[in-house]
Symmetry: C2
Subunit: 123 residues, 2 copies
Amino acid sequence: MPSQDAITETVNSYLTHVANGATDEIVNLYSADATIEDPAGSDVRRGRDAVREFYAAFQDAKKDTELAEIRIGGNEAAFYWHLTLDAGDTRTQISPISLMTFDDDGKITSMRAFWGPSDVRVL
Amino acid sequence: MPSQDAITETVNSYLTHVANGATDEIVNLYSADATIEDPAGSDVRRGRDAVREFYAAFQDAKKDTELAEIRIGGNEAAFYWHLTLDAGDTRTQISPISLMTFDDDGKITSMRAFWGPSDVRVL
């Protein structure tokens, strides 16, 4: 099981890479057969190609991320964070509660992000 | 699947009953074979008796609860909340990120609370 520090570091790296649109670096944080469910309740995507496709779709958007709260239990992290999207004349913020599981090497094996249209806020 | 409003209402009822130490009312929010894992990463307790025992253990403590953020996806809720424990001369606060799943009748089928000793704060 990865340490709490290792898990926290990976979550922070994840948010940095998401902000920078660094798709390769994001994919590299995931295990080969990882799953993503974003938003939670939607179809589950599985594997490196699906993970890459998901993040590549919005890598060029100007955005920023901020970790607000993180809680770790076993090999899992639950965290509350902010994603700010800057489209020039409008800035919107989504603040998901995300859940990640990790394998022994500290790679993300699953990511689920809880948020919905009603959580999108125009700044 | 219960509506988002029904899920939110149940979470609010849950937090009110926790604050009041209303063990019967809490147990009634759960399905018969529900599981609780609190803190997440610890042993899973299953069934009404185990649920009752868990909440009865601290029903008499003076405490308050506050819902900070809630996100719903499908039949699940993720929520960030505050539990303030008042022991007279010392007040402590724990702020878990919890995850609940619900059945079609809106009963809680599982509860997992992410928090650890490092999240306990003396006020």
